[in-house]
Amino acid sequence: MEVDHHIHIPGTTLFDGTQAMKGFALNKMCYSFNWKVNRDEYLADPEAYFTKYGLNEEQKNACRAKNVLAMIAAGGNIYYLAKFAGIYKLTVQDVGAQQTGMTTEEFKEKLRRAAD
């Protein structure tokens, strides 16, 4: 039987044991991007790199589409995904905008409005 340890917070996937099990290969690949030598190897042949780290099809498709919500659904942890985003020079505002269906400028305005 599945035990849910958490309350449901809309728009939020708590990264817990369930997500950690699901996303281990994807997060391990993203962790490897801490080092430039690995980023270079990935960029030379992303498909070979996905295979090297044992990503499943869901994870590969999410990475191919650079779709952050899909990567989270596939078990990705945002701290490691941020290193994937870095390869494509995406800022955390770009990533926020993509997930909320806004332009980056609209997302930045949303952040500014939080000060009101």
Partner: protein, 282 residues
């Protein structure tokens, strides 16, 4: 005997490191943030701590999910940063105080905090950005202290509770005060305040909750231990759980503190930034 001068909190957003590298102190976006720091630097200049215990959360440089310590304490002679995947500049190594680290580790485990000791630990922006903010120039700064990193897990649930974080800080206080060397210590709690990077709720910031936390952490930190971890995610955002570091720091300061300075600004990157300087009364 070792003495605790006080505690500092600071946000540690990676973009701050870039802004420092580009010296954007007068830039309209950055000025309200950087203007908070000179008061704290003046206090550090006056008191010249020998050691900074830097409580931060690693974001996937020093630790991976293969082995994720809930609480980890650095026990190295020096600590190095890395580019973290974004080309962050390599900084000179941060000198540690391994002998003092082992004293703290002995004391913490003796008091039933089963920590992970780290004789090598790559330190990320959570550690380096506050060091750059408080001691500009780092090793070029004549008052640059030795540092001991302490990292708590906020990457993966279950994360520690706020109650445990405060208790950790209180045990850390005993550990520091029982060290026989005549050194002056400042304790840093870095991260926060409210922010969320992931999911459709990305961009969440909660000024009211942050302000409440900044008030209660001075006057009644125990009241904050009533907040559950999920309430913390709900009110501070998924990454606002970094407030745990502030609670660990606060525990090390003793019951009464004087708040000498604070600053709060929205937004820096995706985050509400918070800065506090609290001086120990005893």
């Amino acid at each position: 005997m070792a003495k605790i001068l006080g505690g500092l909190t600071s946000s540690h957003i990676p973009a701050i490191g870039n802004a420092i590298a580009k010296e954007m102190y007068e830039d309209p976006y950055w000025k309200p943030f950087f203007d908070g720091y000179p008061r704290v630097r003046a206090w550090l200049e006056e008191h010249k701590p020998d050691v900074a215990i830097n409580i931060y959360n690693d974001h996937g440089l020093g630790f991976f999910l293969d082995k994720m310590p809930t609480f980890a304490i650095g026990a190295a002679h020096e600590y190095k940063n890395d580019d973290e995947g974004w080309g962050i500049p390599q900084l000179p190594p941060f000198p540690g105080d391994a002998k003092f680290s082992w004293h703290i580790i002995e004391h913490m485990v003796g008091n039933e905090f089963d920590i992970t000791s780290c004789q090598e630990l790559a330190v990320d922006h959570g550690f380096t950005v506050p060091m750059q903010l408080f001691w500009p120039g780092l090793e070029q700064n004549p008052n640059f202290p030795r540092a001991i990193p302490i990292s708590a897990n906020t990457v993966q649930h279950p994360i520690p509770t706020l109650k445990r974080a405060l208790a950790f800080g209180r045990a850390l206080r005993e550990a520091i005060l029982s060290y026989p060397e005549n050194i002056k210590v400042v304790v840093l709690g870095t991260g926060g305040l409210s922010h969320q990077l992931d999911g459709e709720r990305a961009g969440f910031i909660n000024k009211e909750f942050d302000k409440m936390c900044m008030e209660k952490i001075v006057t009644d930190p125990d009241a904050l231990t009533k907040i559950s971890r999920e309430e913390l995610v709900l009110n501070a955002g998924a990454q606002g759980t970094e407030f745990l570091m502030w609670m660990m720091m606060r525990g090390a300061l003793g019951d009464k503190v004087n708040l000498l300075h604070s600053n709060y600004h929205i937004p820096i990157s995706n985050t509400a930034s918070g800065l506090m300087l609290m001086e120990c009364v005893n």
